[in-house]
């Protein structure tokens, strides 16, 4: 048994101008679970499924609605999916790839008719839009995407997935506070004043790592799928630095018109970036049923991964 993506949907908040760039940013107080519930509506329509069909939920986010519980249960309740299991995954920028790989495991052993794989982020509420934080804040956007994964006979669908992480670099792209390791309390007023609750990124190190990790995981995944790069119809390359993704495409010699870099148009949507771009591609016609798509992501952790899927 294998698994396939049966439908995708996305939802982006209105685009506003911040720090001189256009970004989808949630102005109203809203969490990723609600953005994802909106995204799920078009995924249900595309997959010809309803909330009653859902037999498992996987929710990837690094910006959960609340500290706990995870966003998956809010999403589940918002959609009305009974008491189906709702797994929350935290793998930062690689969250969707990891979640897709997990869905593929469940559906491959299955059978599962309708696993919702959601990636949702509301970054804007946790960014520093002042001069101090603008270089990081301008890199992000908010949004959500949902893919419906189901068991299928045969080997079409999700052809191959790869996941990796290297925690030695976790301080090079991180947000330290609130930190449960900080005793006696996770965050203080002083931490807030010093801006220690905002993400920091060492751009050069992230770029350097991405240029090594992303081509390598793409080669690995192509090999698992038994394909050459030229046999892939479309590449979606997700990382916080669009110019690094461009360089990856260049080094892999990917034809320019086959490459989509979602962070170049939305800012980085982290776990949401790949399902949003898939959904946009299907909506605009750059992707169609039967297309072979290569997905790759690399970011904080560092965690990275890739997937080759046939739509």
């Amino acid at each position: 048994m294998g698994s396939a993506i049966l439908g995708v949907g996305h939802h982006l908040p209105d685009v506003v101008e911040r720090l001189g760039v256009q970004r989808p940013i949630a102005i109203e107080p809203i969490g990723p679970s609600k953005l994802a519930a909106r995204a799920a509506q078009s995924a249900f329509a595309a997959a010809k499924r309803t909330p009653a069909d859902v037999d498992f939920i996987i929710f990837a986010t690094m910006t959960p609605d609340v500290t706990f519980p995870g966003s998956g249960v809010y999403f589940q309740h918002e959609l009305g999916c009974g008491t189906t299991g709702a797994l929350d995954i935290r793998a930062q920028c690689a969250g969707f790839i990891y979640s897709l790989a997990i869905a593929d495991q469940f559906a491959g052993i299955g059978p599962y008719g309708c696993i919702l794989v959601a990636g949702g982020e509301v970054h804007s509420s946790g960014l520093d839009y002042s001069d101090r934080g603008r270089s990081v804040a301008c890199l992000y956007g908010d949004g959500a995407g949902v893919a419906i994964v189901g068991s299928i006979d045969g080997s079409r669908g999700i052809r191959a997935t790869s996941m990796h992480a290297d925690g030695r670099h976790h301080r090079e792209f991180w947000c330290e506070y609130p930190a449960s390791k900080r005793h006696p309390v996770r965050i203080t007023v002083d931490d807030i004043r010093a801006g220690r609750h905002f993400p920091t990124i060492q751009v050069d190190k992230v770029r350097e790592f991405t240029l090594g990790a992303m081509p390598s995981v793409i080669h690995e995944t192509l090999e698992k799928a038994g394909l050459r790069a030229g046999e892939v119809d479309r590449w979606i390359l997700s990382c916080i630095l669009p110019e690094a993704a461009e360089e990856v495409a260049h080094r892999l010699d990917l034809a320019k018109d086959t490459v989509d870099i979602p962070s170049a148009r939305h800012g980085h949507l982290t776990a949401a970036a790949l399902p949003v771009a898939l959904s946009e591609g299907l909506e605009s016609g750059t992707l169609a049923e039967g297309a072979i798509v290569g997905l790759a992501a690399c970011g904080a952790g560092f965690a990275w991964g890739a997937a080759i899927i046939e739509l």
């Binding site: 009974g82 299991g85 509420s125 925690g167 947000c175 931490d191």
Partner: protein
Amino acid sequence: MQRNSRILGVGHHVPERVVTNDDLSRCMDTSDEWIFQRTGIRERHFSEGWTGASDMGAIAARQALERAGKAPADIDCIVFATLSPDVDMPASACLLQEHLNLSGIPAFDIKNQCSGFLYGLAVADKFVKSGTFDHVLLVGAEVHSTGLDLSTRGREVAVIFGDGAGAVVVGPEADTDQGILTTHLHADGKYAEKLWLESAASRDRPRLSEEIVAGEDARTFPKMEGRYVFKHAVTRLPEVIQEALVARGYTTEDISLFIPHQANIRINQAAAMSLGLPEEKVFHNIDRYGNTTGGSIPLALYEAIEAGRVHDRDLICLAAFGAGFTWASALIRW
């Protein structure tokens, strides 16, 4: 060709510092009798210094590897269940990976609260069953103590939680009637805010502020409506255990030992009674650790093994209920 998975080794770690109910009664209006009557807890452990979930998880993981007869290099994937990650991002799994010098393999966190370990076990089981990975390191660890309101205002929740960690190595098993036989996962987000910790909340704008951190409304501390948790737990636990028994054609009589998540001894006693499980088939250690959430089941499993209560071919039943609400069960032929 499908194979099964099984737990090859179990490890645990709790910080040194013991905090008794009497210790708590010195900073809040409570008493040993009040806490023990309602929860079964006598004491818990609190970490100190800059100890995070990954620091404790690494110690538990090394022990689990040793018990499994495996080296860190044998591990193909790290799954870390926690609701109290070391830092806001990235995942504690990545920090654990640094501790164990396991660069390159996948590492991710699961946030499913008290059911986190069993959700993680289901994921590890699938990865091993499918042949994708041979050995998955599953860790559950929490540092609750830095997120509790240790004053009278926060006492209802603060007295329950303790810090602790457990870990298991999940590996392949050729016999499909042996090892992890079945896992069952559920959730109901309708009750998300009956046991929860609100801030930092991405749905707030801004997510954090001086007011939120210093504020009187204490949104950075967990809150619980205990009667909802109790009522749902005593229904959902027997239900999800029955679901597992039915899936494999067993009855309650077949269970050798029931190791529930350690949230409240009254809940676990009520669940066992409703299933018709005699007291001697139920494992408790909440008296010494409180609720260690992601860490509680592996910590209890470790102690049950040490106490000689887990034998070859025993049918072990694991189950959990907690925040989300989420609940889950697993049956293991040891």
